[in-house]
């Protein structure tokens, strides 16, 4: 009998209940999309941030030790270098495909013709290389420093003396793109840099001349040498295993070691880099890892907020619809009370109708939300969003809360519904 009444009521109030279902569907679809994106966004943002600079620095062992002990790069200390010829080996490690870009660096000071000394850094801007595996690969600062603003043009390898000059330094030297700067090489001969562009990136490059690696090697008398490589790699977020391995790979059991080695943790990639580049130390760049975390937290907070707001507004929508519906049906519901229905049984009847509509809306919303999630995934991250099953129980709880909250005002007016007033013969 109960279900017969529910069925009758549902059929008769089809339109209104449909609106309830639609409202619920709207709220749930947004929540579904946001929650799924939120759970998946960790990896996505991680990948996005790879476009944002290096996350592993490779230096020579001794340079690294000196820096650790004395906390400074002492230019006067006897320096150890890496071999430029080893760089290609980066693309031979197990995680080669996770290595997106890298660029070598050789830093030093040069005397200008005018007598003042400036910092120079030699690097690749857009360097084509043939890998030991036979593959072809282009990399350099242009692939790594997406946030660099260059006024003028990037230097080309076909013009070995073309350079970028940091904005701050350019002001000091009063130079602009197209100008030349003459300097004195280590061997005493003079040479010239031609300014292709001015760079501002907010880092040490603003005070430097960023030149091409061969030119700097020649100027400093360090042919074939580099002092560091910045590597950008796609990594899996760190976990307990990764942290233990980073502290000491030898502390792992064989099985753990295998799992770690075959997972793209930043520490295992760094470890593999050390294996292929002689005399090297590869370190994760902590600063970027931390800012990644912060951006992630903020993105997820934002999505959580959207979820909560969309569910709240859906709740208010449901509340309005249900209240209007109860008002309209007050005669019928009063009649039920008059023929002996208790408050509780009338409330249960009405709640059943609402929950049925809500359930249908919820399922429809979930399906639509998965679609939204994919649209967001492709629009924002250019890839699909993984569907997370954990979202379903969360949504069920939220749906129940939403329907109960939404029904609250209606239930109140139901309890206050007086059969005598409703049925009074006027």
């Amino acid at each position: 009998m109960f279900w017969q009444m529910v069925k009758g009521a549902v059929l008769r109030q089809g339109r209104q209940l449909l609106f309830v279902a639609l409202t619920v569907a709207l709220g749930v679809s947004l929540a579904t999309a946001m929650l799924n994106v939120m759970f998946d966004v960790g990896d996505k943002v991680n990948q996005e941030l790879k476009a944002f600079g290096a996350n592993i620095t490779v230096t020579s062992k001794n340079a690294s030790i000196l820096k650790d002990i004395y906390g400074l790069d002492n230019a006067s200390a006897p320096k150890e270098y890496l071999a430029e010829s080893d760089i290609g080996k980066l693309k031979t490690i197990f995680w080669t495909n996770n290595i997106v870009a890298f660029s070598p660096h050789l830093a030093g000071n040069l005397k200008l013709d005018g007598g003042s000394e400036v910092a120079v850094s030699g690097t690749w801007f857009d360097h084509y290389m043939k890998l030991p595996t036979g593959e072809e690969f282009s990399t350099g600062e242009q692939y790594l420093k997406s946030w660099w603003q260059v006024e003028g043009a990037w230097p080309k390898e076909t013009e070995p003396d073309s350079v970028l000059v940091g904005k701050t330094l350019a002001q000091k030297l009063n130079v602009k793109p197209g100008d030349s700067i003459s300097y004195v090489k280590k061997d005493g001969t003079k040479a010239v840099f031609r300014i292709a562009g001015l760079v501002s990136g907010g880092g040490e490059e603003d005070d430097q001349i960023v030149a091409q690696l061969p030119a700097v090697q020649q100027a400093l008398g360090l042919e074939g040498k580099i002092d560091s490589v910045n590597v950008s790699a796609m990594t899996t977020p760190e976990n307990e295993l990764a942290r233990r391995a980073a502290a000491n790979p030898k502390s792992l059991s064989l099985k753990e070691y295998e799992i770690w080695y075959c997972t793209s943790y930043v520490s295992s990639i760094a470890f593999q880099i050390e294996e292929v580049i002689a005399n090297s130390v590869a370190r994760p760049v902590r600063q970027i890892a931390e800012s990644e975390g912060r951006i992630l937290d903020k993105t997820q907070l934002l999505m959580l907020l959207i979820t909560v707001l969309s569910l709240l507004s859906a709740t208010m929508g449901v509340s309005n619809l249900v209240s209007a519906n109860i008002m309209e049906r007050s005669k019928e519901l009063g009649l039920l009370k008059a023929i002996g229905a208790t408050d509780r049984s009338v409330v249960i009847l009405v709640l059943t109708e609402i929950f049925m509509a809500g359930l249908i809306g919820g399922v429809a919303g979930y399906v639509a939300g998965l679609g939204f999630a994919q649209i967001i995934g492709h629009a924002v991250f250019g890839s699909s969003i993984a569907i997370n099953m954990l979202v379903i129980p969360i949504l069920i709880v939220l749906l129940i809360l939403m329907l109960l909250l939404g029904s609250l005002p209606a239930i109140r007016s139901l309890l206050g519904l007086h059969p005598a007033i409703v049925l009074h013969g006027r």
């Binding site: 009998m1 109960f2 017969q4 009444m5 009758g8 009521a9 059929l11 008769r12 005669k331 019928e332 009649l335 039920l336 009370k337 008059a338 023929i339 002996g340 229905a341 208790t342 408050d343 049984s345 007086h418 059969p419 005598a420 049925l423 009074h424 013969g425 006027r426």
Partner: protein, 217 residues
């Protein structure tokens, strides 16, 4: 002991509108009482109090041995369900349920729905062949007879009918009144409210209500 006894009952709506005052009334088992009076005199108010739909504001109402002053709102619902059969002027059937289902709803809230018994009740009011029709597919007279069948379905001790023929034509009025006559002959206690003399005369006893005061005819 009388089935119903009202002693000095008053009903004041919202502390301002006095709808009933000093009402004394006794109804015995098997009685048929007609309450007559002009519109707005308090007839429906009185019916609602007797029918446990509303609580009086002063005096004493004893129904089938129960003092209504001493019961909670929930118990009042229970008493209404167990002891009262109601027939309203505007029929009041649930629009999306068939005739027989409308009877079964009353059974459902009372105990358990029993289709056979509901069919028997429809048969009793001569509507067995209309059992599966929706209220909108029934004439006014037929709807009212369904209501009477519903009022009977849970074996009430008292049947209340508020202007049961108010919305009916003469032919249907006669059908409904014949039904009440039959029910009373079988021993049912009935109170009808009406402002039609003809309907009033059918009862065994008539009381007049004017401005919330009751007097014998």
């Amino acid at each position: 002991m009388s089935l119903l006894k009202l002693t000095d009952v008053a009903m004041v709506y919202g502390g301002r509108v006095t709808a009933l005052e000093h009402v004394n009334l006794t109804v015995e088992k098997g009685d048929w009482l007609a309450i007559m009076g002009p519109s707005g005199s308090g007839k429906t108010t009185l019916m609602n109090i007797i029918g446990c739909m509303d609580k009086h504001t002063a005096g004493q109402v004893v129904l089938d041995g129960i003092d209504l002053n001493e019961v909670t709102k929930n118990e009042l619902t229970q008493i209404r369900r167990d002891k009262i059969g109601m027939v309203f002027q505007q029929f009041h059937l649930i629009p999306y349920l068939t005739a027989v289902e409308n009877l079964m709803v009353a059974q459902y809230y009372h105990s358990i729905p029993d289709r056979k018994e509901a069919m028997a009740a429809l048969e009793r009011v001569g509507l067995a062949d209309r059992a599966d029709h929706l209220p909108s597919e029934l004439s006014g007279g037929e709807q009212q007879r369904v209501c009477i069948a519903r009022a009977l379905i849970n074996y009430p001790v008292l049947i209340l009918a508020d202007e049961p023929t108010g919305n009916l034509d003469e032919k249907n009025e006669k059908l409904v009144m014949d039904l009440f006559r039959e029910l009373n002959r079988e021993g049912h206690t009935i109170i009808t409210v009406t402002h039609s003399d003809k309907v009033g005369q059918a009862a065994k006893r008539i009381v007049i209500i004017e401005h919330g005061h009751l007097r014998d005819a």
